[in-house]
C-alpha cells in the first residue's frame, strides 16, 4: 500500500523491451539499483514497470544491451499534473466549486423549530428573527446566547432553549414547561351522561339527589352544587341561604349497551383483473378538452380512480389550468361463500367493534351476552351483543349565574 502510494507520487512507466537479450537489459538495470517490478513476457515481448525517475537514467543501459524500449503505459501524479496543466479551466472550476460550496455552507439557510407544543412556532420564529438569527446570516455572526436568553425572557412558558447548527440548518430546540392545569373552581352540578341504574353514589361536595338503586336518564341532575348543612327536616322552614359550590363525588352506575352485527353467507367480491385504461382531460378556464377518451363498455364492471392535478396557486392565477387523469380498472366479480360459524364470528366481531367506541376505557364490564337472531332471509346472519358495565356516569356542568337553585 505504502509502496503503491510512493509509486503513484513519483510516477511509474511500463515499457516494452525488445531485442536479442532482454535479460541482459534487466540484469544491467538491477546492477544499477533500478527497482523493477511486474515483469511479464508474452508473444509481443517483455514488459517491465519502473519509476519515472529511473526511466530517465536507463538510456545508456539500453544502448549497452542493444535493445529497444517503447513506453506502453504510464501513470502517477506527474502525468496527472501535466494533464491538468493543459486543462486549466477544469482545475479552476473544481477549486471554484469547493470555494463556493464552502462559502454557502457557512451561511444559515433554514431555521427549524422543534419541541414546541402549545407555543406557536411562528412566535418563536419572530423572536429569533428580531434578535439576529435569520436565513442568510453567517453562522459565526449569530449571537446564540443572546437569542436564547431573549426567547427565555419573552416566553415564560419555555423551560429551556438550545440553538445548534447542523449544516445549513439552525435548530432551535424548545422545551416547554409543564404548567399544572388550573382547576376549574366555578360552581358546577354533576349530571348523568348516560342512562343507567345507580349502584354507588358518594357526594363529596354538594347535595346528592339520587339514591342507590335509582334509575337515571341522560341529563338527570345527580349532585347539586350547593353547600349542604345537615338534613332538611321540614320544607316549610325557610332554608338558609344556600351557597353555590362545585359539586364533587363518585357516581357509579350500571349501564347497558346493545349492538348488532350482521354478515352475509354469500358475498360478491370485486377484484381488479389487471387490465386498465387511462383517460386524460385538460381543463383550461371553463373549457374541458378530452385528450384521451376511454370507450365505454357497459358490460364490464369498472372502478374509476381520478387523479386531479393543479398547478400551484402562484402559477395558476390568470387562467385556471387543471388536468384530470382517470384510470379505469376492470373488475371481476367473485362469489365468496362462508360457513355459518364464520358468519357468526364475523358478525360478533363487527358488533363488538361497534360497541368498543361507546364503552369508556375505565368501565368495568360485568357481563357480555351474545345472541344469534333468527332472520327471515336465509343469507343473513345477525348477532346481538349486549354488554353490562359499571362505570362513572357523572359529568360537570357549570351553574350559570341566572340559574336559581330550587331547594327541595
Amino acid at each position: 500500500m505504502i509502496c503503491n502510494m510512493s509509486h503513484y507520487i513519483s510516477g511509474t512507466v511500463k515499457i516494452k523491451v525488445s531485442g536479442v537479450m532482454p535479460e541482459k537489459f534487466i540484469n544491467l538495470c538491477v546492477i544499477q539499483n533500478i527497482f523493477l517490478w511486474g515483469l511479464t513476457k508474452n508473444n509481443e515481448g517483455l514488459f517491465v514497470c519502473m519509476r519515472l525517475a529511473d526511466f530517465f537514467t536507463i538510456r545508456p543501459i539500453v544502448r549497452n544491451s542493444k535493445n529497444h524500449i517503447q513506453v506502453v503505459d504510464y501513470s502517477g501524479l506527474p502525468f496527472f499534473a501535466r494533464k491538468m496543466k493543459r486543462r486549466k479551466m477544469l482545475v479552476i472550476g473544481a477549486v471554484l466549486f469547493l470555494i463556493i460550496l464552502n462559502t454557502l455552507v457557512s451561511y444559515i439557510w433554514f431555521i427549524d423549530i422543534v419541541g414546541v407544543k402549545s407555543i406557536s412556532p411562528q412566535q418563536i420564529r419572530d423572536i429569533v428573527y428580531e434578535n439576529g438569527l435569520k436565513p442568510g446570516m453567517l453562522r459565526n455572526d449569530i449571537p446564540i446566547k443572546k437569542v436564547e436568553n431573549q426567547i427565555m425572557l419573552t416566553l415564560p412558558e419555555v423551560a429551556w432553549v438550545g440553538i445548534s447548527f447542523t449544516g445549513i440548518h439552525a435548530v432551535v430546540e424548545i422545551v416547554e414547561k409543564t404548567i399544572p392545569k388550573t382547576q376549574d373552581k366555578a360552581p358546577a352540578n354533576i349530571i348523568a351522561i348516560k342512562d343507567g341504574v345507580i349502584t354507588e353514589i358518594i357526594a363529596l361536595a354538594g347535595q346528592s339527589l339520587v339514591k342507590k338503586g335509582d334509575t337515571v336518564k341522560k341529563g338527570d341532575l345527580l349532585i347539586k352544587g350547593v353547600s349542604y348543612e345537615g338534613p332538611i327536616v321540614d320544607s316549610t322552614i325557610s332554608s338558609p341561604p344556600s351557597q353555590k359550590i362545585r359539586a364533587n363525588g363518585i357516581i357509579k352506575a350500571r349501564v347497558w349497551y346493545e349492538s348488532y352485527g350482521e354478515s352475509e353467507l354469500v358475498t360478491n367480491v370485486y377484484e381488479r383483473t389487471g387490465r386498465q385504461e387511462i383517460g386524460v382531460s385538460l381543463k383550461v378556464g371553463q373549457q374541458e378538452f378530452q385528450l384521451k377518451r376511454v370507450a365505454e363498455k357497459p358490460e364490464k364492471i369498472v372502478e374509476v380512480e381520478v387523479f386531479n392535478k393543479k398547478l400551484s396557486w402562484w402559477r395558476n392565477q390568470d387562467i385556471a389550468v387543471e388536468s384530470n387523469i382517470s384510470t379505469y380498472y376492470e373488475l371481476n366479480a367473485k362469489r365468496v361463500e362462508i360457513s355459518m360459524e364464520e358468519a357468526k364470528e364475523q358478525s360478533k366481531v363487527r358488533a363488538i367493534t361497534a360497541l368498543q367506541s361507546l364503552i369508556p376505557e375505565t368501565a368495568h364490564v360485568l357481563s357480555r351476552n351474545i345472541e344469534v337472531l333468527q332472520m327471515p332471509e336465509k343469507n343473513l346472519v345477525r348477532v346481538k351483543v349486549s354488554v353490562e358495565t359499571v362505570e362513572d356516569i357523572g359529568e360537570f356542568v357549570t351553574i350559570k349565574d341566572e340559574d336559581n337553585i330550587p331547594l327541595n
Binding site: I26, V30, N33, L36, W37, L39, T40, N42
Partner: protein, 92 residues
C-alpha cells in the same frame, strides 16, 4: 582449496552459531506454497520466459519451471517469482 576454505568456514559458523547463508554466501530461497518464490542473494537472471526462469547464483544456477511466471519484484538482493511453480531445480 575452495572446498577446504568452505569446510573451515562452515565449522566456524557452527561454533559461533552464525547463519550459514551469510558465512558461505548462499542463496536463501523462500517458497509460499507453489505460488510465490523469493530468491535472496542472487547474481542476476539468465533467462526469463513465462514457463522457465533461470537465476544465476554464486555457484551454478537455479531453474524454476512452471507456468504464467511473473517476476513481480526485481532488486539487487532479491527476486520474487509469482505464478504457478511446478519444479525448482539446482544446477551446479
Amino acid at each position: 582449496m575452495q572446498y577446504r576454505k568452505n569446510r573451515h568456514l562452515q565449522r566456524l559458523a557452527g561454533i559461533l552459531e552464525i547463519p550459514q547463508d551469510i558465512v558461505l554466501d548462499l542463496p536463501r530461497i523462500t517458497m509460499l506454497g507453489n505460488r510465490q518464490l523469493l530468491v535472496e542473494n542472487h547474481k542476476g537472471i539468465i533467462e526469463y520466459t513465462p514457463s522457465l526462469v533461470r537465476i544465476k547464483l554464486e555457484q551454478g544456477e537455479l531453474l524454476i519451471h512452471g507456468h504464467e511466471l511473473i517476476l513481480s519484484n526485481l532488486q539487487v538482493e532479491q527476486i520474487l517469482v509469482e505464478g504457478t511453480v511446478e519444479e525448482v531445480k539446482y544446477d551446479m
